[in-house]
């Protein structure tokens, strides 16, 4: 398969305008766990041209219940494992990876070139840190975040809301791991799909949720 074949497949399905707009887009993914690995796969399959994948961690057995990784990835950096998976679904995407722990000191620089950033961390404090840092220091950026997706409660409580002028929040806002509920693949992937779909909508110029 050539790049021309792949692009023709996307154009046939999405139309020329959507294809071209998504091809030019650059989306940052902060954290490559259950949310981030799934968001990245969905955006890559949708034809987003350029992704920035950032995580410090390695793939471990406890990731397999909800993250996109497979047994042969155990021990690899998540950036490398996810890159290999994405390239099998979309061999022509432009991927940048950074193996680092994102902090309030480096977040602004890491994501400064992106059109959008998808927050995909595990801990509530890290989510708050990233959102605060990017909204304060990167005034051109719109950010999507996931909050509340643990357990196997109703799928229909997971929603997308525009909660601030440049922040979209996906999730049920209450089902956190702090309450002892564990994360399971379906609701994590539903939440990831909310982030990915809202990212596509924003890239295509639609701000309503």
């Amino acid at each position: 398969m050539t790049k021309h074949d792949y692009d023709a497949m996307l154009i046939e399905r999405h139309g020329q305008r959507v294809f071209e707009t998504l091809s030019r887009a650059y989306v940052g993914i902060a954290g490559l766990g259950g949310l981030g690995s799934n968001i990245a796969m969905m955006l890559a399959r949708s034809g987003v041209g350029h992704l920035l994948l950032v995580d410090f961690d390695k793939v471990e057995p406890s990731n397999l219940n909800r993250q996109h990784y497979i047994v042969s990835h155990l021990g690899l950096q998540k950036t490398e494992a996810l890159k290999s998976l994405i390239l099998q679904a979309n061999p022509f995407i432009h991927l940048d990876t950074i193996d680092t722990y994102i902090t309030e000191d480096n977040a602004s620089d890491i994501f400064s070139g992106c059109d959008l950033v998808c927050e995909a961390f595990d801990k509530a404090e890290n989510k708050a840190m990233l959102i605060n840092t990017l909204l304060l220091q990167n005034p051109q950026l719109t950010v999507l975040s996931g909050s509340g997706m643990a357990g196997y409660g109703s799928s229909n409580t997971i929603r997308t809301e525009k909660v601030m002028s440049r922040l979209y929040l996906c999730g049920d806002k209450t089902s956190g791991i702090e309450s002892g509920i564990s994360l399971m693949a379906p609701r994590v992937q539903i939440c990831a799909a909310h982030e990915a779909n809202m990212a596509l909508r924003l890239l295509l110029g639609i701000e309503e949720v």
């Binding site: 259950g34 595990d122 989510k127 708050a128 509340g148 997706m149 643990a150 909660v163 702090e178």
Partner: protein, 64 residues
């Protein structure tokens, strides 16, 4: 004042930090927009709220 879309009467001036504490928010897990502007978390103790303010408070929960 208006907090997350709901009207709320502010009886006396309080700092944002005090408001968050008394309403059950954990300051390390929130992002706050006041009158359309994000408030740096380091300013929570010094930002004084007025009854004319509009706040959007996002309280994050873990998991991802």
């Amino acid at each position: 004042m208006k907090v997350n879309g709901e009207a709320l009467r502010l009886e006396h001036p309080v700092s944002l930090r005090e408001f968050l504490d008394t309403h059950g928010y954990s300051t390390g897990r929130v992002a706050v927009e006041r009158n359309g502007e994000i408030v740096p978390s380091g300013s929570y103790p010094t930002v004084m709220l007025s009854d004319a303010d509009t706040l959007e408070i996002v309280h994050f929960v873990g998991g991802g």
